[in-house]
């Protein structure tokens, strides 16, 4: 089978990226993000908190925008982050329509940063599909963990590079 290979980060951007000063590397390389999504029955909305490493986020935002982006210094860092999340995190309702996220905020915690976004979803999460490609365009060993709570149910999803939309289904744990 022949597949087209999309190199998402094109060479001119990479060169821009390479000129940047060194990022603070973690003690030893490992790459995981964590997403907690919860359906708010009263607001009829999906509330999402995402924990990522700050330097990874700064790296991808810098590469995408061709300039050094710092979460605590760049004035439009919120906007750039939301634009990235809009591409990297996709939620489809059971009819297959993509939802649009709005920005709630971010807060830092040690070397990580929590990102908060939400979307109205009166139709609920039942039968919805999620795809989380955060940093797949930056790191080939990135793993994105997702925990979802909705209607008294819990769903755990794991995304690795190359994986597509996954249906949100209650996770049954084996004893």
């Amino acid at each position: 089978m022949r597949n087209r290979l999309y190199i998402l980060i094109v060479i001119p951007l990479l060169v821009a990226g390479m000129c940047l000063t060194a990022q603070a590397a973690p003690l030893h390389t490992f790459h995981t993000s964590l997403m907690q999504a919860e359906y708010n029955e009263q607001e009829k909305s999906v509330e999402i908190a995402i924990q990522v490493f700050a330097h990874d986020l700064e790296n991808i935002l810098s590469k995408r925008n061709g300039k050094r982006v710092r979460l605590d210094k760049t004035p439009d860092a919120d906007k750039l982050t939301l634009a990235y999340l809009g591409e990297a995190v996709n939620l489809k309702n059971r009819e297959g329509q993509l939802k649009t996220f709005s920005w709630v905020g971010m807060e830092s915690q040690a070397d990580a940063v929590w990102l908060y976004i939400e979307t109205k979803m009166p139709e609920g999460l039942e039968g919805a599909q999620l795809r989380n490609r955060i940093f797949f365009d930056l790191l080939d060993d990135q793993v994105n963990l997702v925990h979802i709570k909705y209607e008294g149910k819990k769903a755990d999803l794991v995304f690795k590079p190359g994986e597509d939309f996954k249906v949100i289904n209650e996770t049954k744990r084996a004893k």
Binding site: I9, I11, I48, A49, G86, F101, E107, A112, V158
Partner: protein, 772 residues
């Protein structure tokens, strides 16, 4: 729910042994002793977890001449190794580690990389896949015996076997030499724990040189030769020995190295030597090479070479760094009487952070770690800034964080630097001195070290933002799928950081705070460090020592936290109230009357009430039962009660009458991990009580237990794990009555006005994002 209960029955029940869970259906035994899982103790490793009476380890002494070729980024070396066979075995060949060979073009590290996703692919990955033109790996040019005659050798990927001319008997030593060279990797491009960084702006390099000479593989009583191939994750274990190393570098370079400099007169200027002398009595770090001098050095050209001679005793490895860009600061630090020269080497790009924090962080680490283990035994401790993000070697470590080019830095970068210096300097204790085997067990040094890193960070400043250590920080990982037990060989560990660093560090913190208490834990942990200082422990030695020295059975803890992927999730399923039946008719009949009166009228009763009744129309229909009060106490009932009281002792009578409430709290182990149960009980009268129940409450039934709380007060609420000390992943089921627990999102949204990041920057709220 209120239940009545016969007191005498309760007493009988509590005394009865017939409360065991049925063993035929409940297969799980989370308290089973680890005996079958651990290796059988022997003369080398005792059942107590201490080294046995015939414990042995090999020894390797090195004399090395190495040249750093700055023009071609190359290492050219020659070593003479004296290998002492202190084992009871006769050896016919020796194995050496050739770690540089992971960059050989045909290395298994490349071959065993699994395919990346081709849906989306980082550029660096494509570059690594197609542009493998770096000519890495060792070029071994000679292997000779003590008489300079060639020895046969065979390279097996990252290992090399040297065939001895004659078998090496126990107690004997053999001397041989190896000549080699290799090209240094560009760390910024292909990564690694060693390598160079090129600075375009001034044309200079920083070299961090490690895993750079053919090193004797460990030979031990557990694995024989530890020659498991180096694939990149499982670091290494080596043998202790003395090193005599001559490092030749361009004459304008500053060299930082494991060991003590032997020829300062030849390589340092008079000013540098004077400043080093000042550092011996200084209260703050002294600049040996100032930023101005380092900046001037950047544009210098070497006029020749200089050879720096370092000696290091009783170390298991040797590393160094070299550059003309280095600023150098130093301060002599007294650790329990051991005088240690704490030093940092960094380029101007590291300032202002490095000058302010690095050497202080070194000294802080030596203080705290020495308190929990043993006094730092080496004469120097060095932190170097270069391309490597964070990596440890004896007496020297490489740390990456730098401020922005404009000299500003975020709080995250600052704490990132302090944390990584603490962590990598801390590695001197584990595994450089307590010589555990990271090729197999990453957690034995990373987990223990991350635990001590957490303790050190918390002594740096109040509310230091430690990433790992607090139980609440590990809950998401603990609940996640896609994980393996801590007891997994290094190269197969999934979610490396959480598995080998975060989880064991948190487990030890919980063991210290919640299971053993600080006093018992600290005693046992220190004993482990003392027993295995300059020796090679295995996992069982740690598990056994902690139990042996603390006097507490911890097998359930090791089993749950280290051998499974279970997590803590205990739920308060139900609370039932039992009160005593006093048998006193005056009390009990009245209670029954109130209970009946308290029952709500049914809808039909309400509607039937106003209907005309036949007995009202014909009063002759009335008899005894129409006026009988079923709750009225009769003389006979009183008599019966008196007779009953006479059969009781005085103590029994008191129990009967003082109105104790028995609350039965039903607990369910949802997550699978057996853990202590901590209950905070709030009474209606406003008082509180904390119950701390050991994990052994689960020993008969690992999944469902109940606990009786006997009190003459009324309970208003119960909270499980009120201090967030057990890493319970689901707090919603921790309360009676149930309380909604706010999500991370909701907490943030509520206090959003108080977000300092936004307060400072006054960022406008962006519009909704566009979808792809």
């Amino acid at each position: 729910m209120l239940n009545r209960l016969y007191l005498l029955l309760v007493i009988a029940f509590l005394c009865s042994p017939a409360v065991f869970a049925q063993s035929k259906t409940n297969q799980s035994d989370k308290f089973k002793q680890l005996g079958e899982l651990l290796p059988t103790p022997n003369d080398y490793r005792a059942a107590s977890g201490a080294p046995g009476p015939r414990y042995w380890q090999q020894r390797a002494d090195y004399s090395i001449d190495v040249e750093l070729d700055d023009a071609n980024q190359r290492i050219i070396g020659k070593e003479t190794v004296t290998y002492r066979n202190l084992s009871p075995d006769t050896l016919t060949y020796l194995w050496l580690q050739l770690d540089q060979n992971i960059w050989a073009k045909d290395s298994d590290t490349y071959k065993t990389q699994t395919a990346p996703s081709f849906q989306e692919i980082p550029f660096r990955t494509v570059e690594n896949l197609v542009k493998r033109n770096f000519d890495g790996g060792y070029k071994i040019t000679a292997v000779r015996d003590a008489r300079n005659a060639a020895l046969p050798y065979t390279v097996v990927k990252t290992m090399m076997r040297i065939d001895l001319r004659a078998p090496l008997a126990p107690g004997e030593a053999v001397v041989f030499s190896v000549d080699w060279n290799y090209n240094i990797n560009d760390q910024r491009k292909i990564g690694g724990r060693t390598g160079y960084e090129f600075f375009k702006t001034d044309g200079n390099y920083i070299y961090e040189i490690a895993q750079w000479f053919p090193r004797m593989a460990a030979y031990n009583d557990v694995s024989g030769w530890q020659h498991k191939q180096f694939l990149g994750s499982g670091e290494f274990t080596l043998e202790f020995g003395n090193y005599r190393v001559r490092i030749t570098a361009p004459d304008d370079h500053i060299v930082a190295s494991t060991g003590v400099l032997q020829n300062p007169l030849e390589v340092l200027t008079r000013a540098q030597r004077d400043r080093l002398e000042q550092a011996k009595t200084a209260k703050e770090p002294i600049l040996v090479v100032t930023p101005e001098e380092a900046r001037a050095n950047e544009s210098s050209k070497p006029r020749g070479k200089k050879t720096w001679i370092f000696h290091a005793d009783n170390v298991r490895d040797f590393a160094f760094a070299s550059s003309r860009k280095f600023i150098w600061d130093a301060q002599l630090h007294d650790v329990n009487g051991n005088r240690v020269m704490a030093m940092s080497f960094y380029p101007k790009e590291g300032n202002p952070l490095w000058g302010q924090y690095s050497t202080h962080a070194i000294m802080h680490t030596l203080n705290v770690y020495s308190r929990y283990t043993f006094t730092y035994p080496y004469p120097v401790a060095i932190s170097v800034n270069g391309p490597v993000g964070g990596m440890e070697y004896p007496m020297i470590c490489f740390n990456g964080p730098r401020p922005e080019p404009d000299g500003t830095y975020s709080a995250g970068t600052k704490h990132g630097l302090i944390s990584v210096v603490i962590h990598e300097v801390g590695h001197n204790f584990f595994p450089m001195i307590v010589n555990s085997d990271e090729r197999d067990w990453t957690w034995m040094d990373e987990g223990l070290n991350t635990f001590l890193q957490y303790l050190s960070e918390q002594e740096w400043e109040e509310n230091y933002p430690s990433r790992r250590g607090e139980p609440r920080n590990i809950t998401e990982y603990m609940a996640s799928e896609n994980q393996v037990p801590i007891m997994t060989q290094s190269d197969s560990v999934l979610q490396f950081g959480n598995n080998a660093y975060g989880k064991p560090a948190t487990a030890l913190n919980i063991l210290r705070e919640t299971v053993l208490g600080r006093e018992l834990f600290d005693y046992a942990f220190k004993e482990y460090a003392r027993r295995w200082r300059f020796k090679r422990p295995m996992p069982a030695d740690f598990f056994r020592t902690m139990e042996d020295a603390s006097g507490v059975d911890l097998d359930w803890f090791w089993r749950g936290w280290f051998y499974t992927t279970d997590h803590t999730d205990i739920s308060i399923e139900r609370v039932r109230l039992y009160t005593t039946d006093t048998r006193n008719p005056e009390i009990e009949r009245e209670a029954a009357r109130q209970e009946k009166a308290a029952r709500p009228e049914t809808l039909s009763e309400q509607r039937n009430k106003p209907l005309p009744k036949r007995i009202d129309q014909f009063p002759s229909l009335r008899d005894f039962y129409n006026t009988y009060d079923e709750f009225k106490v009769t003389a006979r009932q009183r008599e019966e009660f008196q007779r009953y009281l006479e059969t009781l002792t005085e103590e029994e009578r008191a129990l009967l009458t003082n109105g104790i409430n028995f609350y039965v709290v039903e607990l369910k182990n949802v997550g699978g991990l057996v853990m202590p149960v901590i209950l905070l009980i709030e009474y209606a009268d406003g008082t509180n009580e904390e119950m701390r129940i050991p994990a052994e409450i689960w020993r008969y039934d690992n999944f469902n237990v109940s606990k009786v709380i006997a009190t003459n007060k009324e309970i208003k609420s119960i909270a499980l794990d009120p201090h967030l000390e057990t890493a319970d992943v689901d707090l919603e089921n921790n309360f009676f009555p149930r309380r909604p627990v706010k999500s991370k999102f909701q907490i943030f949204k509520e206090q959003k006005e108080r977000n300092p990041m936004q307060e400072l920057e006054q960022k406008p709220l962006p519009p909704a994002a566009n979808q792809p």
